[in-house]
């Protein structure tokens, strides 16, 4: 989607909102996947993990909304021009899959509990309302989807992690730094100076503010 824009106008880094959301959600989603698999396979930890899983899932849903809005309003940095087509395709497809699953997983979880007749407890004394009717068939379909999409999400997260490290350690291109940190002052301006002044980083810092 950045192909139409001249590269010099494109940001080199994700904006601060995107970076904070990316890293906090990365932690939350990875934790969520481990909590999820742990709570359905443990005979002792289920109560504790379930009470963590539900509010964390809704928190991820809320963060995903903020993240999508930010993503649509702020152009991400372009992928390296020399990246093979197949990798470009894989990068774009996996990112949209991650976005889709960030929304789908909490919504399916919430619907699934509704269809199973369970209270959707965020914390003691506060339940979310059911969003689908209490129904065995609907429950079974959603319960199955929640598991299979969780495994798909985990596989996509692993692929994303592998690709990120490949960019960082093998290709050593701009992809990993674009999410790892904001724009740094240009070598010429080592003196303490507002980073936004540098023309090189204008795209990024504009988005940061």
């Amino acid at each position: 989607m950045n192909d139409l824009h001249p590269a010099r106008l494109a940001p080199r880094h994700f904006n601060l909102t995107a970076r904070v959301l990316h890293w906090s959600m990365a932690l939350a989603i990875l934790a969520m996947l481990f909590v999820g698999i742990g709570m359905v396979t443990s005979l002792s930890l289920r109560p504790t993990l379930v009470s963590l899983h539900r509010p964390l899932g809704i928190a991820i849903l809320l963060l995903a909304i903020v993240r999508l809005v930010n993503r649509l309003r702020h152009r991400p940095p372009p992928l390296p021009a020399d990246l093979p087509r197949v990798q470009v395709l894989a990068a774009k497809a996996s990112h949209w899959l991650l976005y889709a699953l960030m929304f789908a997983m909490p919504l399916i979880g919430w619907s699934m509990l509704s269809a199973g007749g369970y209270p959707v407890t965020m914390f003691k004394g506060f339940n979310l309302p059911p969003i689908v009717p209490h129904d065995a068939t609907v429950y079974a379909a959603l319960r199955g989807a929640h598991t299979w999409l969780a495994l798909l999400l985990f596989a996509t997260v692993l692929l994303h992690l592998a690709a990120a490290l490949f960019h960082a350690w093998v290709r050593r291109d701009e992809v990993f730094p674009s999410m790892a940190r904001g724009a740094s002052p240009t070598p010429a301006s080592a003196a303490p100076e507002p980073a936004g002044v540098s023309p090189r980083d204008s795209g990024d810092n504009d988005a940061d503010s």
């Binding site: 369970y118 319960r143 490290l165 291109d173």
Partner: protein, 369 residues
Amino acid sequence: MPVNDPADAPMTRHRWPALLAIALIVGGVALAFGWIAGWLTPGRLTPQRFTNAIESGNGQIYRGYRRAHAKGVCVAGYFEGNGQGVALSSARLFAPVRTPFAGRLSIAGGSPYGLDGKARVRSMALELNSDDGQQWRMAMNSFPFFGVSTVSAFYEQTRANTPDPATGKPDPAKQAAFLRAHPEFARFASWAKSAPWSTSWANTTFNGVNAFRFINARGDVRNVRWSMQPQAAFAAMTAEQRAAADGNFLSEDLQARLARAPLRWDMVVTLAQPGDPTADPAQPWPEDRQHVTVGTVVIESSTPQANGACRDINYDPLVLPTGVQGSDDPILAARSAVYSVSFNRREHDIASGKADTAVGKTAAPEARP
């Protein structure tokens, strides 16, 4: 891939350590996930494997039915608090209000066609929906204490009672080995042998068995257990009467009684003293502990479970309102985990059209042992 990629050419030499590191990191995360999932440890007891053992113990999978306590009826009514529980717990239903419930009365055993006269254990489950939007699910049994203290012993008990495919009956040698390994089971065995059988669900006491914590509005915490004690007079049934009774006498009796009047149980809370064990459901607390009657369970109607509200409810005893918490009893957490798997499996049976009898589309065969 980027062999022909000029940008990569200078670092080709150093690529393999990086690729190895990536593989180790990604593989490590995947392995950790697989380990937690139990995929790497086929011997670890999980809720799925526990449920498999229960299914094996049943001799077959009864599609669409609960994997344990498969036979039962749905009931509806209300709980009426008398106000005495307010000092113990901030749960709304202890106030002098009526809290409606969707409940279930059942007998133990994995067969939906089990004979009522042969089921040593009966149970009552309630899903209480209070007017503050909170829910309390209870799953109570007619035994006063559990047979075993740990989840692994509970599993061994299930395995020991699994019918041998050759004889169709549990292997006496395995049962004897279980008893030798678990002397704590003797108390339960003695209860099962000597406690009189009552003639009805209506005159059966149902016990919460596991310990819970009650927290009142001031934040005081008490360890408790509770029982539903019938207002209907106890009447015992002899072995001959049980043998002669209809296989469905409990539900027939229930309907006859409900046609005359609602059925009532007093909810009696037992307060632990410091030091009373909360983590061992096989250990009853001393008789002299304080008992507080906090309200009345009133059953007004019943419905067959094939089309009743209880069919699609998982009576997970850890769905609790404000003012009630689970204890450190490991059996309580395990019940929650195994009930969830049982629920998922039977709802899946229903959704995939394998459970015509369970949902009342085809008639059930006659009760059989």
